[in-house]
């Protein structure tokens, strides 16, 4: 009985910076970044919700830009800086949003929340004067099934007002 190694199961030695720490691993070429972070590094804060790029639960930051961790191959992050909810919590980047989300109960089950916070932070940085409609539009790639979104919009608006 023959066995075969699918081409995408071939591994590539890859070095990347995850939350400020340089990491070198042999990574299966087919492995997605969110799976690499979760399975190889134990960074389980990023969640795989749909694994086809729609729900946004796996939103991560690569070289400062938000990406879908389920549509990015881990090897594509070679030589790049990857920031996850864990790192951005520890260094205080998300502190104001986290505080506002907490006070406003802008999360229920919390599964979408890490991705939602990264997407929200992206908008706070790029467009701190966004209207409610613009906030809603920006978050349209991040599904939340619990809150109905209003509390999330409120929390982000509060942070933006605080920054102005």
């Amino acid at each position: 009985m023959k066995t075969r190694t699918p081409p995408l199961a071939q591994s590539v030695e890859t070095t990347l910076i995850v939350n400020g720490t340089t990491v070198t691993r042999r990574i299966d070429a087919r492995q997605h970044l969110v799976d690499f972070l979760r399975e190889e590094l134990g960074l389980t804060g990023s969640h795989a919700g749909c694994e086809h790029g729609v729900c946004g639960a796996c939103t991560l930051r690569v070289d400062g830009r938000i990406v879908r961790g389920c549509l990015t191959l881990a090897v594509q992050a070679g030589g790049k800086r990857v920031d996850t909810i864990e790192g951005l919590s520890d260094d205080g980047t998300l502190a104001a949003l986290q505080e506002a989300f907490h006070r406003r109960n802008a999360l229920q089950c919390g599964f979408c929340t890490p991705g939602m916070l990264l997407a929200a932070h992206d908008l706070v940085e790029k467009n701190p004067h966004a209207t409610r409609e613009e906030i809603r539009e920006h978050l349209s790639g991040n599904y939340c099934r619990c809150t109905g979104y209003q509390a999330i919009v409120d929390a982000i608006e509060t942070v933006m007002k605080g920054k102005r």
Partner: protein, 786 residues
């Protein structure tokens, strides 16, 4: 009882949830985050056909693939997991066929598991799926409800027909009243099946210890004790040897309160392989295996007098549930709820109903958030609006005329359900004031002249919450309607609260901390809450049917009051004072009259645990108490609410723009207004999803056509309106806490309100829609534009 209701303290305050902090930092513990030594990964080979015989299933090649530990079919699993039949004694005549963890010989829906592959990694297991060889013989698929009812092809020949459950109901005076009606309105409504789409897919990690014959299961579930019982009985392991742990659960809404064959297979495979295994459904599997709900076609007729009094309702509901009634709650409950609830807010005395629940070759359906309520509300409120229009009455006035009066309670509705006390008129008045109804009507009329088609839709609801054993226990299901809470004062003055109701983000743990702190007289930072572990918590039902606050909260309150009394016994002994002179305020025992500090709890704890020798000789302190609660007086803590939707229909494109939504809910004592508001808002948006976007679309062969997150539309932030929430508080007198449930309210009423608003917008054009979801295509068809 009213005098004993908790006042002051934290009850009634919008306190943020302490346990949300870990989730905000990505430091939660969802089931997929569990890592164990020797953990193996399960994937399932699933049927591509809706109905087919498995002629040959060859797993040999899959077993030779890299990393594969085992490949298992249904026959191999039978000795580890017995099949089940989902029926309940109180749903007379309900029937279903035996269902196995993995299909044997035949598949009955697209997505049914046919084999499991277990490998060292999930990717390796998925590679091996491609090496599985199957020869199928396709069988005729029954997909249309009418075909199922006609029974030309019978899915389970042993059952004789495709009817899972049938119910006929008629009040004694129905025919007489019906024959004398001045006006009868009739309409048929259709509801697309949809599903919960929890962002965290169904997840299970199961570990079997062969030396101890113990099974530990980490599961994303709402009902750990129910699952403990089921794993025990079907895997033949003593219940005491089964532990179910539900840590963080990433959304549930009723999806995660059922027995899923693949999860049973995962637990059985842990036993077979004597090692820990993990199964995490991927999103494509979720769409074809997570329970669906609400595929109904119902004709409703309503009889009225010329004066505008509703006299009687007549309902004929047909619903399809897939090939099996879902274990252990059955798939008969949703239709039964539609019969129980239709017409429920109104004061007519006559009612006739007929229900048929049929099997089809599609994915199974079962109880999803607001079970039956959105159907009943749409049928009731749709036909009520229709009658109001025929009578030339304003929809709000017509409702006011017919809603059961606020002083008419206790009240028994013709379907047999009993209301302790509802507040329809108060909620209606509050809603109309909040939305400024008359002004909005004037604005709508002005805009119509400019060919802007806006609609206002109202929907009154009644809501089943806090159920007694009348829901499942009386039918023979081993599902607890009772819940418990343990409170323990620690030596440090901290309080540990352990509850049997589970947390999926609603804020169960937060309100337990609020209730415990208020009952004891401590600050909230002193309370730690634990839930979701059958090895630790009292026995209980978990979370479903809006029972967490109403039932679990009462258990916490009673435990808190008992512990407070015990603490004061100790304080009285230490201080040599009369217990009646003492109180607990702000973490200290104080003089009740002067509030003078007498003994900090941290000092009381030190003495009670480490220097009991200094207490009177026969005195034994008891700083751990457990209390349970189950409602008895009423089968269900019925509550009520009302919704309004304001929207605009683009009559050229068929698109609906939601402008605003209002909801007034009566959930009894409100423990945390912010959390109740957010339950309502989240529920409203799920209801809007049902009304406008969500449908599991099947073709005539039983193939799901839109089973991806990209194709199955759920509400996104950009298209949702702001939602204004108001409260009326009518506490239940059954409990000291007085809380009723709030979890279903939003989902129950929103679809009917949106439907009525769309039809109100379309009314000047003579068009009307009655098939959910109200897609642009359906609206344009109603307008005769396509």
């Amino acid at each position: 009882m009213t005098a004993q209701r908790p006042s002051g303290g934290y009850v009634g305050q919008s306190v943020p949830r302490a346990n949300a902090k870990r989730l905000l930092q990505g430091r939660g513990a969802y089931t997929d985050d569990v890592r164990l030594p020797r953990l193996a990964h399960i994937v399932f080979f699933r049927s591509p056909h809706a109905h087919a015989r498995i002629v040959r299933l060859d797993l040999a090649k899959a077993r030779t693939m890299p990393g594969v530990i085992a490949a298992v079919d249904g026959k191999a699993l039978v000795e580890y997991c017995t099949p089940w039949v989902a029926v309940l004694g109180h749903l007379k005549g309900i029937k279903s066929a035996p269902q196995h963890a993995i299909a044997i010989d035949r598949v009955c829906w697209q997505g049914e598991a046919v084999a499991a592959v277990i490998a060292e990694t999930r990717a390796q297991a998925e590679d091996a799926l491609e090496a599985i060889e199957v020869e199928w013989q396709e069988l005729p698929a029954v997909t249309a409800m009418s075909d199922a009812l006609a029974g030309k092809t019978v899915i389970h020949p042993d059952l004789g027909d495709n009817i899972c459950f049938h119910r006929d109901f008629k009040t004694d005076g129905f025919d007489d009243v019906w024959s004398k009606a001045d006006l009868v309105v009739e309409e048929t409504y259709e509801f697309g099946r949809h599903t919960g789409v929890t962002l965290e897919p169904r997840s299970i990690v199961a570990d079997y210890n062969a030396a101890e014959h113990t099974l530990t299961v980490w599961q994303s579930t709402q009902a750990p004790h129910m699952m403990q019982d089921i794993f025990s009985r079907h895997l033949n392991i003593p219940e005491a040897n089964v532990r179910v742990v539900a840590k963080d659960v990433g959304g549930s809404y009723g999806i995660k309160v059922h027995v899923y064959p693949d999860e049973m297979a995962a637990a059985a495979l842990a036993v077979m392989l004597k090692r820990p295994v993990k199964f995490i459904a991927d999103r494509l599997e979720s769409f074809v295996t997570d329970i669906h709900a609400r595929e109904h076609r119902a004709t409703v007729r309503m009889a009225c007098s010329k004066a505008g009094d509703i006299l009687a309702f007549d309902l004929d509901d047909l619903t399809a549930i897939g090939p099996y009634s879902v274990y252990p709650r059955t798939s008969g409950i949703e239709g039964n709820q539609v019969v129980n609830l239709t017409g429920g807010p109104y004061k007519h005395q006559q009612y006739r109903a007929k229900l048929d629940v049929v099997f089809t070759n599609k994915n199974v359906t079962c109880q999803y958030r607001a079970v039956g309520h959105p159907i009943a509300a749409a049928l009731t409120e749709g036909i009520v609006d229709r009658a109001a229009a025929k009578l030339g009455m304003d929809p709000a006035d017509f409702r006011r005329k017919n809603l059961i009066a606020d002083d008419a309670y206790p009240y028994t509705f013709p379907s047999g359900i009993k209301f302790e006390r509802l507040s329809h008129h108060k909620t209606l008045d509050k809603l109309l004031a909040m939305m400024d109804y008359r002004t909005l009507r004037a604005e709508q009329a002005a805009l119509r002249k400019q060919r802007v088609y806006r609609g206002i839709g109202l929907a009154t609801i009644i809501e089943v919450t806090g159920p007694s054993p009348a829901f499942y226990g009386v039918g023979g299901a081993r599902i607890s309607a009772q819940d418990g809470a343990t409170l323990r004062l620690e030596p440090t003055g901290m309080v540990t609260c352990i509850g049997s109701v589970t947390e999926q983000g609603q804020g169960t743990e937060a309100i337990f901390a609020q209730i415990a702190a208020s009952a004891l007289g401590v600050t909230m930072d002193k309370v730690r809450v634990m839930t979701g572990d059958t090895g630790v918590t009292p026995y209980g039902g978990g979370t479903w049917a809006s029972r967490g606050a109403a039932i679990g909260g009462e258990a916490v309150l009673q435990a808190g009051r008992a512990l407070r009394s015990n603490i004061l016994d100790i304080a009285a002994a230490i201080l040599n004072m009369d217990k009646a002179e003492l109180d607990i305020v702000n973490n200290e025992v104080v003089n009740k009259l002067t509030l003078e500090s007498k003994l900090p709890l941290v000092e009381l704890g030190r003495v009670a645990y480490f220097r009991p020798d200094t207490l009177p000789p026969k005195f034994q302190s008891e700083l751990t108490v457990t209390r349970h609660y189950t409602p008895r007086e009423y089968g269900f803590s019925f509550t009520n609410g009302i919704h309004a939707s304001y929207l605009e229909v683009d009559v050229d494109t068929g698109f609906v723009r939601l402008l605003k939504h209002w909801a007034v809910d009566d959930s009894g004592t409100v423990i945390n207004p912010m959390l109740v508001d957010e339950q309502v808002r989240g529920g409203v948006v799920q209801g809007i999803g049902a009304a406008l976007f969500e449908e599991c679309v099947y073709d005539e062969n039983g193939q799901l056509l839109n089973g991806t997150m990209a194709d199955y539309l759920v509400p996104m932030s950009g298209e949702m309106p702001d939602i204004v929430v108001g409260h009326v508080e009518t506490p239940t007198k059954q409990s000291q806490l007085g809380a009723k449930g709030a979890g279903e309210a939003g989902t129950a009423g929103a679809p009917a309100a949106v439907m009525n608003a769309i039809n109100d917008a379309l009314a000047p054009l003579g068009a009307r829609v009655t098939t959910q979801p109200f897609t642009p295509e359906r609206i344009l068809k109603a307008l005769d534009k396509i």
